[in-house]
Symmetry: C2
Amino acid sequence: MKLLVLSTVLKQRHIDKIRETSDRYDLSVAFTDSEVNIPEGFEDPDIVYGFGTGIARRSRDLKWLCVPSAGVDYLMSPECFMNEDCILTNSSGSYGVTIAEHIIAVSLMMMRRLTYHFEETSQGTWGEERYLQRSLKDSRITVLGTGDIGIEFARRARAFEPLSIKGINRSGICDDPAFDSIDKIDSIDEILMSTDLLVMSLPSTPETVDILDRRRIGLLPDDAFVVNVGRGSAIDEEALADALDEGHIAGAALDVFKTEPLPSDSRLWNTKNLLITPHVAGNLTLEHTLDKNVDMFVEDLDNYMSGRPLRYIVDRKRGY
Amino acid sequence: MKLLVLSTVLKQRHIDKIRETSDRYDLSVAFTDSEVNIPEGFEDPDIVYGFGTGIARRSRDLKWLCVPSAGVDYLMSPECFMNEDCILTNSSGSYGVTIAEHIIAVSLMMMRRLTYHFEETSQGTWGEERYLQRSLKDSRITVLGTGDIGIEFARRARAFEPLSIKGINRSGICDDPAFDSIDKIDSIDEILMSTDLLVMSLPSTPETVDILDRRRIGLLPDDAFVVNVGRGSAIDEEALADALDEGHIAGAALDVFKTEPLPSDSRLWNTKNLLITPHVAGNLTLEHTLDKNVDMFVEDLDNYMSGRPLRYIVDRKRGY
């Protein structure tokens, strides 16, 4: 059997770890940076760890694709896999810590008006105006999507003494004590009306597309802030831009967009109080994220090779 | 007796609270925005709450000055008080929460390279480069000054799962569990050598001037970050700028400076990886800060009028 690993960021310790496990099962393994540089003999591997979307699309032999991303929306249409029984695993669970830090960072940047101050000081101006600050302390926080990211964020946000942290998900169930309450998605409208900070960490599925639509944006208080780190498809971007430009909400920080990179003619570039980051909340440069990402793959490699069920499997119908 | 309150930010509820307490003791009270608009009959008040530095300098009758700031370095020279027995209280204790949020915000902005990304996106550019991120997770944090600010920061930082949070102060004593250890200032050199994030929240006293001098900056690892929210006097700014420009440390976020506003010809404006904020970490626009500030004054007003010792008294010799 053959395993092909595609990555530009792995360190020697990660390579050693993958090789050790492969050796234990007489699995041949090759490492390369991308699908355009496939080592000889590995054109049709049994297993791929990395963004092997091209191989998945053309190879009948691929039995398992493990992607280093949490979201797998780009692998949902039927033509993505030549072998329709190909197993898909993702790396949801490795990004919670790093994306939680991003959410706290951008929330505070907006609430404390550091975006304003930084724009002034980075132009060499002290800036005399003292903008009205808001704080995580005493805020009513709503977390839409209570997976790994939502939970790690809530744990950190808790230390800032918010008034409340409410989680919303499909089942209404999440037993992590970081949330004060968990509600089903049906209750979202009511909860939005008393939300100071809305954090969105949802996978992209048919049900989450435009879940924050124009009507729901209208339910948020005028001084509410929105952070999206899940997928851009979850927000009606036009409606959000209108709300920001007209001051119907206080600010938004988007790391994900319907189209990425954000097109240069997008009106979002000129939208008021919008903090744009170029999909970097969960990038793999953080050692902790990368270590966990590799650990998760190796755990499932061990499972796969010894015939046990995989742990990080994606339900290709549900989409996450 | 007469109480003069100088403030531009008090809300009606704060005015009511101060008036209630004053009424209880038959204390006459007047409110105004600044020393240039003193209401008739209040030119020589017994008590001032606010930045009454002019009154302190010229009035023999002033018995107690309560300033809404934490730092009182600007009141330390003998000519600051005409009445040398005038009591001075400060508002250290009201700023911990807001300044702790600032420290977390700027630390994450630097460590996660959000300053780079924000500079790019605020110019309308997506920015293809993915900078090497660092995180609070697994960082070795050192907090120089373990008062209210240091403690509130450490409590929040704890939730990010750092490797360690070490406190340094004069006595080597602080029983707050947010710190893994507390060391005396004598140990600073050794601790700096294994610090990823140095947070400085010191009052300005003769002992803290240039406490982070060129030699000590040289002890920090190349990938260390420095945050100063105490007083600008604590850092040799020239040496810090050299270290940043030459890449001997990874970044610094300064909210305080030797001269404020930072002069337009200061080299700090053009120093690499330096995040400048215009002394806003502890500004009084945050409701929580202002409420606590007023509560502390009213508590001591009650103490003063009933002859009990004041709680928030400043040792004018020690300087805090």
